[in-house]
């Protein structure tokens, strides 16, 4: 399966959505609900997925994260986000 193109606009797949704020357990955590399960997200994972709104492009999402984590290697940030979204697409939680 290919990684997202720079111009792709990642979004949550049909029937996948954020749970209510109180469902994550803590303030930092939010939960994504999908047909047979849920993933708790915090930190970078949460920040990436919150940007998968079907509006922002893949390259915009990467740029936003890179500008937030200036200490980290930008190439690694790109590779990590790409891999993260590929995994979620395989599970049919994200579309792009």
């Amino acid at each position: 399966m290919p990684p997202p193109d720079d111009s792709a606009q990642p979004r949550l797949a049909a029937g996948c959505r954020w749970g209510a704020e109180n469902k994550g357990g803590t303030e930092q955590e939010r939960v994504i609900l999908f047909p047979e399960g849920a993933i708790k997200l915090q930190g970078t994972g949460r920040q990436v997925l919150e940007r998968c709104d079907g509006q922002r492009t893949f390259s915009q999402i990467i740029a936003e994260l890179q500008s937030q984590f200036t200490d980290a290697d930008p190439t690694k940030i790109r590779a990590d986000i790409s891999q993260f979204l590929e995994q979620l697409r395989h599970k049919r939680i994200v579309d792009y």
């Binding site: 797949a13 996948c16 749970g19 469902k23 609900l33 047909p35 047979e36 849920a38 395989h90």
Partner: protein, 377 residues
């Protein structure tokens, strides 16, 4: 304190227009007159939301047999739950589907019995196949998650490739290809359903190829037949560990089949809160954790993965609910499962679909092969 349950399985009725020969419902079903009211179910969903549960799986029987289904979905969604409808699709057409989606339905799981109409209707004991295809098309007009569930067994697994291709053109997000699990009606009909080793091996290959080919488009989930596995399944993610099931009459169970276990009594939502039952019910505590475990489970590294397997299967096959699940290759009673496999592999014969003009006629003609699921009173 036990951590809160994650999901609620709501068996809202045992009535069903289908008569699937592998149905996991108990042989003794909850009578129609005992079913919970709309208000009682709404209260249950509100309790579940407050307990921090994430999902409500509405199932049956056929949940569409309840005229208040839309109201129940709306209530579950309003309680903060992800709503999943597990259905045969019978009783669902355009307007009702739209109403369910508008009420907040997140996911629909539609079952198919086969890709071939004659075989599908023969297995279901009902003319349902054509309607399911039409319904699949309607579902795709809505932005909800769509899973196609296909139960496979000795009688249909030989053309699994064809069935996967059939599901592919229905364009779901997910296909669940599940080997029959031997409880309820399926256990009664096991001889007609248990596949041969050769059938299983071929099915595993077909699923792996489909998973690779469909990656990113359709997620493929596969449920293996535990009789052929080395270790037992982690039934329900462990007894009283993640899930609560409420039957049509309001009994609260750790799993679909738990009522077969003698000596356990199950509380009813009419009398106690979900939280109280989850925390204090002797039946939920009976096999929770590891204290109940016999050897070889007690000292086995797998015990944190499979929790000793399935208590109901242990009871059904050995007569003792405390035994290690006989599906486990290490179980003292594994010979029981091995004997069933010897029988299953001693012949490769499968039956031909039987046509009939009525269900009664179909029942009579198929009598030597299997018993169809009947309906509650």
């Amino acid at each position: 304190m036990t951590s809160n349950p994650l999901a609620l399985i709501a068996e809202i009725t045992h009535r069903c227009p289908l008569h699937c020969v592998y149905c996991s419902n108990p042989l003794e079903m909850a009578a129609v007159s005992s079913e919970l009211s709309t208000a009682q179910w709404i209260d249950i969903f509100q309790q579940a939301g407050k307990l921090g549960m994430l999902h409500a799986h509405l199932t049956g029987g056929e949940p569409l047999a309840r005229p208040d289904l839309t109201e129940l979905i709306a209530a579950a969604r309003a309680a903060g739950l992800y709503t999943n409808l597990i259905t045969s699709g019978i009783g669902l057409a355009e307007a009702r589907l739209k109403a369910l989606v508008d009420a907040g339905l997140d996911h629909i799981q539609l079952s198919f019995q086969d890709s071939r109409e004659d075989s599908a209707n023969w297995i279901a004991g009902a003319k349902a196949h054509a309607h399911k295809i039409e319904l699949s098309r309607l579902i795709r007009l809505h932005k909800i998650a769509f899973t196609v569930n296909l139960v496979i067994h000795r009688q249909n697994v030989d053309h699994l490739d064809e069935m996967i291709a059939f599901i592919e053109q229905l364009a779901p997000e997910r296909m669940e290809i599940a080997h029959t699990q031997y409880y309820g009606w399926a256990l009664k009909n096991r001889a007609a359903l248990l596949p041969t080793r050769a059938q299983l091996d071929k099915a595993v290959e077909a699923v792996a190829a489909a998973d690779k080919r469909l990656a990113g488009r359709i997620r493929v989930d596969f449920v293996v037949p535990d009789y052929y596995a080395r270790f037992p399944k982690a039934c329900m993610g462990g007894w009283g560990r993640k899930l609560m099931l409420i039957n049509p009459a309001g009994k609260v169970l750790p799993c679909h089949a738990a009522e077969v276990i003698p000596g356990l009594t199950f509380e009813n939502v009419r009398e106690q809160s979900l939280e109280n039952i989850w925390q204090r019910s002797p039946s939920f505590q009976r096999f929770r954790g590891e204290d109940w475990m016999p050897e070889p489970c007690r000292s086995c590294d797998q015990r944190t993965q499979d929790f000793g397997g399935c208590r109901c299967q242990a009871l059904l096959l050995t007569g003792n609910a405390e035994a290690t699940d006989p599906a486990c290759s290490l179980a003292p009673a594994h010979h029981i499962v091995e004997a069933a496999l010897v029988d299953a592999n001693s012949t490769t014969a499968i039956a031909q679909p039987v046509p009939a003009s009525s269900f009664v006629q179909l029942q009579q003609r198929a009598e030597d092969l299997w018993s169809y699921r009947t309906n509650p009173e």
